[in-house]
């Protein structure tokens, strides 16, 4: 995971093992970048439903503060998972 001041860039495989860290990173990111927490998925090789759920959990945690998690550069494989789980109904995808 990248920790620069820009978008949060995810790499490799995001599964159950990485899910908890992912949620914490996204939530922590909001304190740095403001209400729009951009998560760049272009370098993600695989993300399962637990990884997406971690993003969703971060979104729910940030909602009271008015922050939004936005997924960008979503690879086809991730988009497929978002579609078949219909999590795109709950996460902003650009």
């Amino acid at each position: 995971m990248s920790t620069s001041s820009g978008p949060l860039e995810l790499r490799g495989e995001i599964d159950l093992a990485a899910a908890e860290d992912l949620r914490e990173h996204v939530v922590a990111r909001a304190a740095v970048v403001g209400p729009r927490v951009e998560v760049d998925l272009r370098a993600v090789e695989f993300i399962d439903s637990t990884g997406l759920e971690a993003l969703l959990a971060a979104q729910e945690q940030l909602r009271p503060s008015g922050s939004t998690v936005v997924l960008t550069h979503v690879p086809a494989s991730v988009r497929r998972t978002l579609t078949l789980t219909r999590l795109h109904d709950h996460l902003a995808v650009e």
Partner: protein, 583 residues
């Protein structure tokens, strides 16, 4: 310079050897006397001559000073009359030269001055001849005390250097062997058998544990001593307790020890040792043990020996602490491993209980299912189940609960039995899935579930199929001689939100057709086996077949899926239900 008893001046006729005699004879007497007097007066050696009665006739100032007596105090007196110890030491030597008429060279005499200083003289004695006859004995005495002292110091320093070098070598060897010792027992073996056994006659190494001293190793120890060391409470011992505060205890002499500590149990348990020491084995964490060394002979325990043994005990202490840490880590690892094993056993038992052995659908339906568990810690995960609904149709569920551990396992059971309970009152998929979704949200675990419901409604010669997806891939409907059709509309993952999008899809399962459903573990994480590959495998099989069998399709998909290089840490569930072909 005096004269012979008959009044003849001696100096002009002193013996100088042949060359000297010639020189003395040929030189004017007053010149010879002057030279001789200069030698007597200035040479840094004692020079004297006694006559045949052993009375001093010539004594220079230096020799007089060495004798702590004046020149006048010598002349005409025998050595024994100058001082009694001279009489004892020197007179026999004068007498011997007088008798043998042969010189005595470099005789060393141990002397002590009037102030008590120990001195060493080197003296030579030679006969004094006149016309061939011995008329007296001359002596030349040099005080070699300083040279002797310097030599002794050099020898002591050299011996100390050799001992120090030898000890440094032994410490180096000890450190090397300790570096290879991993367990406390190995450290004990090195400390006792490679080091202590060479230093002392007996040795014992004990570890300091919470419940007392634990013997680790020993060398040449009697049973009575072994019994003492196993039971002794060092804190209650007046002489040994300091070792537990990190201070060595030195007992150089048994007799003095027994006088100071009458009735000592230690002394009673070891009647042989004449000296011993207790060395604390110290680490940054405190006292980790004690090394006891015992000797048959009293020991000086000088500074060098104490420093040597202290350094050795520090090396051993560090190694023992390191080994103890290693042992603790090993025990923790073993406990963790046992816990993992136990958890795995529990997980597999739970998982085995979560999956039915078989789906007992009634003819003409037939089924086959394979559930392959991924990593053992992924308790929860995939499952399948089949139940007859209230309207007589069959409901088959293929699910995947995310998460791990007992919580996920409980959630898997919750989903499975919620489906079963709901199916008893309704065959409506959307209603069943909403019930499951509510149950998951009510649990508020943050976990969720992907679920596919397959409804089978028997009809004459066919079975009507209803497929409802909730976060799962489409079902594959395989028709013999035709190919594969995807059935299902993507629906919401359960447990995420009360707002669900679900849309049942309908199809017909004709005789000889089979519907296949699978969880995402089959196609995820693989670069060589994706959904298209699954569809190609199924289509190929369907096209070549006149009547498909569920087992055939499941075997084919599972075989193809597991032939690929992929991460199989996730569960894989593949299920097929077919309408048996007639005949």
């Amino acid at each position: 310079v005096s004269a012979w008893p008959d009044g003849t001046p001696h100096a002009p006729r002193m013996p100088w050897g042949d060359g000297g005699r010639s020189w003395a004879v040929d030189s004017p007497p007053e010149q010879v006397v002057a030279i001789f007097q200069a030698i007597l007066g200035t040479a840094p050696v004692g020079i004297g001559v006694v006559d045949t009665q052993l009375r001093f006739v010539v004594v220079n100032d230096h020799l007089a000073a060495m004798h702590d007596t004046s020149v006048d105090g010598h002349l005409g007196r025998r050595p024994g009359e100058v001082s009694s110890d001279l009489g004892t030491q020197v007179e026999p030597l004068f007498q011997r030269v007088l008798d043998d008429e042969e010189p005595l060279v470099d005789v060393e005499l141990d002397r002590s001055t009037s102030s008590g200083d120990a001195r060493v003289w080197r003296a030579s004695y030679f006969p004094v001849r006149l016309d061939g006859a011995v008329i007296g004995v001359g002596t030349i005495v040099v005080d070699v005390s300083e040279a002797r002292h310097a030599l002794a110091q050099e020898q002591t320093a050299r011996a100390a250097a050799e001992v120090a070098g030898d000890r440094a070598q032994r410490l180096h060897g000890l450190a090397g062997h300790l570096a290879g010792a991993v367990t406390p027992a190995e450290v004990g073996a090195v400390a006792v058998h490679r080091f202590a056994a060479a230093e002392a006659d007996r040795a014992t190494l004990v570890r300091h544990a919470a419940d007392g001293l634990v013997p680790v190793d020993e060398h040449n120890v009697d049973p009575s001593y072994r019994s003492w060391i196993r039971t002794v409470d060092l804190r209650r011992s007046t002489w040994a307790a300091p070792v537990l505060d990190g201070k060595p205890v030195w007992v150089p002499d048994r007799q003095a020890f027994e006088a100071d500590h009458p009735g000592s149990q230690m002394a009673a348990s070891d009647p042989v040792s004449a000296a011993w020491c207790l060395l604390p084995l110290v680490s940054p964490r405190g006292i980790v043990g004690v090394l006891a060394l015992h000797w048959d002979e009293p020991q000086p325990f000088d500074d060098a020996q104490r420093a040597f043994l202290r350094v050795a005990s520090e090396l051993i202490g560090s190694a023992l602490a390191r080994a103890a840490t290693h042992e603790e880590l090993q025990r923790a690892h073993d406990r963790l491993r046992a816990a993992y094993d136990q958890r795995d056993r529990v997980a597999r038992t739970l998982r085995a209980g979560l999956a039915p052995r078989a789906l007992h659908l009634s003819p003409p339906l037939e089924s086959e299912a394979v559930l392959r568990l991924g990593s053992a810690d992924q308790v929860g995960g995939d499952f399948y189940d089949g139940v007859r609904t209230g309207d007589g149709s069959w409901l088959v569920a293929v699910g995947d609960v995310c998460g791990k551990g007992a919580e996920a396992a409980a959630l898997t059971a919750l989903v499975r039995y919620t489906v079963r309970a709901a199916a008893m009152s309704t065959a409506d998929h959307e209603s069943i899935l909403r019930t499951v979704n509510r149950a998951l949200l009510d649990e508020d675990t943050g976990l969720f579930c992907a679920l596919t419901l397959l409804g089978f409604i028997p009809q004459a010669g066919r079975t009507d199929l209803v497929v409802t997806l909730a976060g799962q891939h489409e079902a594959r409907l395989c028709r013999p001689g035709c190919g594969v059709e995807l059935v299902g509309t993507f629906g919401s993952l359960l447990g995420v939100s009360h707002d669900l999008t679900l849309q049942p899809a309908r199809a017909v399962l004709e005789a000889g057709a089979v519907v296949v459903a699978f969880t995402d573990g089959l196609v995820e994480r693989s670069r060589t086996f994706d959904e298209e590959q699954v569809d190609r495998e199924l289509a190929e099989l369907a096209r070549r077949s006149t009547g498909l069998r569920p087992g055939q399709l499941v075997d084919d998909v599972v075989r193809a899926g597991f032939a690929r290089p992929a991460d199989h840490s996730d569960d894989i569930c593949v299920l097929a239900v077919g309408h048996r072909a007639a005949g």
